[in-house]
């Protein structure tokens, strides 16, 4: 069959869809993983409530990872192989962590009470290890899989940075989803993790252009720099604005409890746009661009037809699920 869009555009469209999936994954599963890490700070009923607040969503949230990595696999098979063999160890650890996190949801509620603590540990450990591995991979990816000592240090820093980021978005989720004392503590967690997240984003934003001349040129060149300035300015403004907001976030009837979550989402999106701009059109820094890595135009067209029909539906019913389980979290039950 003949491609129905210019073959030049197909890899661009797929890079966009893949980026969108990964961004949605980072925000959506980010709050799940953040809540998972924060469960360590609470006990018993509060911990159950925190888990319940993500219960109906985590499955669908995690699926964005499958779609993101799936699009990399199907649209850019060469890059998929190169990236994942380079990241072999962190990928394996992340998968094991995701397995532990995912099954602990079920086991912690169904295993005998005396084993619950173990599955809570697995839930916390799985969430933490997932975040660390993903952060490490982000760092390694940004550096083009450099294996030097300094590079490994940078990757470890990125790992901690993503942990902070996920805790931040997780705390914002809790502000939105719970009430009372737990909500007040969530505000406190958000205030602390906010600054850690800002620091991590700043370090990665400064390090990336210094590591690559091409990326440096993309950012610090007229007239682009003027067009790009809004990204760092908006990020900084949002960080500061949210920090001020968090001093008195709990308005009458909890009306604005969604604000921190929304701001966190926008901040993640801004950071993501920054990285995407630095890299485009490369999938692996300065080595492999999206046209070199792409599958055949015929294969891409056939996937695109399906994606154009299905993606709006997926987005629609994801919104539907969030709407059905809107409002404050209650203790989950199969009723």
């Amino acid at each position: 069959m003949t491609p129905f869009v210019d073959p030049w555009w197909l890899p661009v469209i797929f890079a966009g869809l893949m980026g969108l999936s990964i961004l949605l994954y980072v925000i959506l599963d980010g709050y799940d993983l953040g809540v998972g890490m924060l469960t360590r700070l609470e006990k018993d009923a509060n911990r159950d409530l925190m888990v319940a607040s993500i219960g109906p969503f985590w499955d669908a949230n995690e699926t964005w990872l499958v779609l993101g990595i799936g699009l990399l696999l199907v649209a850019f098979p060469v890059a998929h192989g190169l990236i994942l063999t380079q990241l072999y160890l962190p990928v394996v650890l992340m998968l094991i962590a995701l397995i532990l996190r995912g099954v602990s949801f079920e086991f912690r509620a169904k295993a005998p009470p005396e084993h619950k603590q173990r599955w809570d540990n697995a839930f916390f450990g799985g969430s933490l290890l997932t975040a660390l591995c993903q952060g490490y991979m982000l760092g390694a990816y940004v550096l083009g899989f450099d294996q030097s000592f300094a590079a490994v240090l940078f990757c470890l820093l990125a790992a901690l940075g993503l942990v902070a980021g996920y805790i931040f978005v997780g705390a914002c989720w809790l502000i939105y989803k719970v009430e009372g004392d737990l909500q007040k503590r969530a505000v406190r967690w958000a205030e602390i993790s906010l600054w850690a997240t800002a620091l991590a984003m700043a370090i990665i934003s400064i390090a990336t252009p210094l590591l690559s001349e091409r990326i440096f040129d993309r950012w610090f060149r007229l007239p682009e720099i003027i067009a790009l300035l809004p990204i760092p300015i908006a990020s900084a403004t949002l960080f500061v604005g949210l920090a001020i907001f968090l001093r008195r976030p709990l308005r009458e009837k909890d009306e604005l409890s969604w604000v921190p979550l929304a701001v966190a989402g926008i901040l993640f999106a801004l950071g993501f746009v920054g990285i995407a701009y630095s890299f485009y059109p490369y999938l692996i820094a300065d080595r492999l661009d999206i046209w070199q890595a792409a599958a055949s135009p015929e294969a891409l067209s056939i996937i695109l037809i399906g994606a154009l029909f299905v993606l709006p539906v997926i987005l629609g019913y994801s919104v539907l699920a969030h709407w059905i389980f809107r409002g404050k979290a209650t203790h989950l039950s199969y009723e």
Partner: protein, 462 residues
């Protein structure tokens, strides 16, 4: 052979991951439909016993689903971490099929599962029933796309090779490739039988303990009838699948039968120890002309032998034994389910002899064993090819070193062993607790609850 041969290790790792993974879809595919059946039966009769059954088995479903999702994610990364040559060569075909699986099935299940599990009092009853239906449809659709891809790897058609890369020429031919309809039907029935024996086995276990109430009697009976109805269909479909394999992958059938020479009057070997070095069988016990009769439907039918495919056929012993385990279990299922269905039909569940109930308990996981044995036959039977005639397994493996793969394999195996133990233990715990199982936590009053059925209580004496 080097103990840390990366190719063998990567293959073992893939086999371990996919074996662990397939256990759970095998349950969820059919259990989804069973749940829909329980739900519809409840909607029709308003009989609480059906809802008890739903409540118990929806928990098993949730647990199995979570295990399937997390192990499935591992699968999607395996292609890149261990088999980069696969997508580079056939990505133009495997890619769209996998993409359609994720797009059409994965999200459908994942989103509506939330409503199915936790939405009972949040959405109207019909929406809950619809969500149950969509989840069941999602799991089946998921199986469809994966089986399409697997079957295409067995019997590839509708493609051409340009510059060393496979390109699709005919998507209809690819999707409805020669072995797909047989493999799909065989797998769906395998899932149904696995679930039937799982439900029958767990229900019998509960019944042996303390009777378990009307819900347990109901599911035991339904599972036995379903098994008795489906097993002859499965045996018939399996036979058709075998004939299809004979047509398209004769060397696989030759290995399944441990038949070395192409000959008429080929015996059906019941027991043997195949020796691949000497290219012969030891301790052979066989029925004369049996294989010719089964495969060619005449005693003088010529059945292809392994010696026609020297150096290009799969290892013989695993196929020979895997096939016998699967068929043996199939025959056992036939005997057990027909006897049980007859007993229940004549005398009712409570009059079942206790030894028979114990036999059902022993067969609780028989479906898993048969399904795995069958998949080992078909997958090892494709070797040395990854995609028959297109890509050899050895040419697809990645550059990751043996020690690295050995460590990741150890990690996976440890985690899988722990999880499988926990899974089975929790299944029995759920069966013991029955409808009162876990999450009997306090429920906060919900604002604006949509009208669902009132808390259905069991009217039947437990």
């Amino acid at each position: 052979m080097d103990a840390l041969d990366p190719l063998i290790l990567a293959r073992i790792q893939f086999a371990a991951n996919i074996s662990f993974h397939i256990l759970f879809p095998t349950i969820t595919i059919a259990l989804g439909w069973a749940l829909l059946g329980f739900k519809l039966a409840y909607n029709r009769t308003k009989d609480g016993a059906w809802m008890d059954a739903y409540r118990l088995w929806v928990k098993v479903f949730a647990l199995s689903f979570a295990m399937g999702v997390v192990s499935g994610i591992t699968m999607s990364f395996q292609f890149g971490t261990n088999w980069p040559g696969y997508m580079e060569k056939v990505g133009n075909i495997a890619g769209p099929l996998l993409a359609y699986e994720v797009l059409t099935a994965f999200f459908l299940e994942a989103v509506f599962l939330g409503i199915m599990l936790f939405g009972f009092s949040r959405v109207p009853n019909w929406v809950h029933t619809l969500a149950t239906f969509l989840v069941a449809a999602g799991t089946t659709l998921s199986a469809f796309w994966i089986i399409v891809l697997n079957s295409w790897m067995q019997t590839p058609v509708g493609y051409e090779i340009r510059d060393g890369v496979v390109h699709a020429t005919d998507w209809w031919a690819i999707i409805f490739n020669p072995s797909m309809p047989y493999r799909l039907t065989h797998m769906l029935l395998a899932s149904a039988l696995t679930v039937a024996f799982l439900i029958a086995g767990m229900s019998a276990w509960r019944w042996l303990k303390d009777g378990g109430g009307e819900g347990v009697r109901r599911t035991l009976k339904a599972a036995l009838y379903a098994a008795a109805l489906l097993i002859p269909v499965q045996i018939f479909v399996g036979d058709m699948h075998g004939l299809n394999t004979l047509e398209h992958q004769p060397q696989k059938v030759a290995a399944m039968e441990a038949n070395w020479e192409t000959q008429p009057h080929t015996p059906l070997i019941l027991f043997a120890i195949p020796n691949e070095k000497a290219r012969t069988n030891h301790l052979e016990v066989a029925i004369p002309s049996g294989a010719s009769l089964i495969l060619k439907h005449e005693a003088a039918g010529v059945v292809p032998g392994l010696n026609d495919y020297r150096g290009d056929h799969p290892p013989v012993a695993p196929l020979f034994w895997g096939f016998r385990i699967m068929v043996g279990l199939g025959m056992l299922m036939l005997a057990v389910s027909w006897l049980g269905a007859w007993l229940v039909w004549r005398r009712g569940v409570d009059a079942l002899p206790r030894w028979y109930a114990r036999a059902l308990v022993a067969m609780t996981f028989a479906g898993w064993v048969a399904t795995l044995a069958g998949w080992y036959v078909t997958e090892i039977g494709r070797q040395p090819w990854l995609v028959t005639g297109v890509l050899r397994t050895a040419d697809a493996v990645g550059p990751v070193g043996g020690a690295m793969v050995a460590s990741s394999l150890t990690l996976y195996l440890t985690v899988y062993a722990v999880l499988l133990t926990a899974y089975v233990a929790v299944l029995y715990r759920l069966a013991r607790l029955g409808k009162a199982a876990p999450e009997g936590k306090p429920m906060f009053p919900l604002p604006g609850v949509a009208e669902g059925p009132a808390e259905p209580q069991s009217e039947a004496p437990a």
